[in-house]
Symmetry: C2
Subunit: 203 residues, 2 copies
């Protein structure tokens, strides 16, 4: 006793499945992606760490370089260093947000040191995924040269290695070479109502 609505639903879903199966059959390529998370909304870093969680789950060696955050011990760092240091290398390069340091020369030195480590990790043939967390802030402030970074990603990144770059204000040059780019847009934020940053949500 199948109702009309159920029959229509089944037919519609069959068409969607057929179209999807055709599309998936055409997607045969595997390659290392340049992934960018930008925008003023939340979720840029946490979805980067969500991908690190997937890599660890699949026992894919991976690495994180934090470019700007780093003044405080994040939950992600604590968990990855205490449980998965064999699979995930964690490097902290920044000394906190730039407005905490108020020292441009020191910020530049920290960003450059982070980039040197990032390059070595990306070039490491064992490592399959590298998260460059908040690197867009270092690029936007010209602590790092965008052309140098783009050139490395285009010409020196191993073909099968994924690199995910996060942070607001991604430079157009980076978006131009990205395979996968997402803008996180703020629709609503509780800070506006006087709610402070909370464990588990923000850090």
């Amino acid at each position: 006793m199948t109702s009309d609505i159920e029959t229509r639903h089944t037919e519609k879903m069959k068409r969607i499945k057929a179209a999807r199966d055709r599309m998936m059959a055409e997607r045969t390529e595997e390659r290392g992606l340049v992934i960018v998370h930008t925008g003023t909304g939340k979720g840029k870093s946490s979805s980067g760490f969500g991908m690190i969680l997937r890599c660890v789950a699949h026992e894919m060696p991976c690495a994180v370089v934090q470019f700007i955050k780093g003044g405080r011990m994040s939950g992600e760092r604590k968990l990855l260093e205490s449980h998965f240091s064999d699979l995930c290398t964690f490097v902290v390069s920044g000394e906190g947000f730039t407005w905490e340091t108020q020292d441009r020369a020191r910020d530049i030195a920290a960003a450059e040191a982070g980039w040197e480590k990032a390059k070595a990790l990306i070039l490491d043939p064992k490592i399959r995924f590298v998260l460059l967390d908040e690197i867009n802030i270092a690029l936007r402030n010209d602590y790092l040269d965008i052309d140098t970074v783009v050139d490395f990603l285009l010409h020196e990144k191993p073909e099968m290695t994924h690199v995910c770059l996060t942070g607001r204000n991604a430079k157009p040059e980076l978006l131009e070479i990205a395979d996968l780019a997402t803008e996180m847009t703020l629709l609503k934020h509780p800070f506006r109502d006087g709610v402070k940053a909370q464990q588990g949500v923000e850090f």
Copy 2:
């Protein structure tokens, strides 16, 4: 020997820090948030799982209910069940994407079963954070009644418990009551170039 550019940078960052410190001082409230991740871009589920990673790191008991995905063993589920089953309860309610099942009655039953489990987890006083992954798809397809869900979040959710609801096409009623809402917008996607879903990135 401080150059002009460095002096200006220091002054600017001092002003930013002062404004930020004032803003943070006004944010004293802690409360459980209703968090929504929507939009057609990537990162909705992975940033939800990034928050779960933070909770686990801080030893905050948490839970995941997957509403639509579930036909396949995800990396997140594998990792959380094998390493952190004491801290994170993982429930799979859906039987795959809706176009895989082609059976509306079965999808509704699965969504309703998931919602019953979700309510019990949210009401559990030990649990601090509940991720309702892809529930927006169940709501959009009217497998679950939006008014029932909104009413529960407004009136029955314990005050300090965070609930994160993900999936594209979030209903306006849900966005209306959200404390924190982010739209993930697709800028670029490699599927368009024939690249298939890859381990670590998509699952």
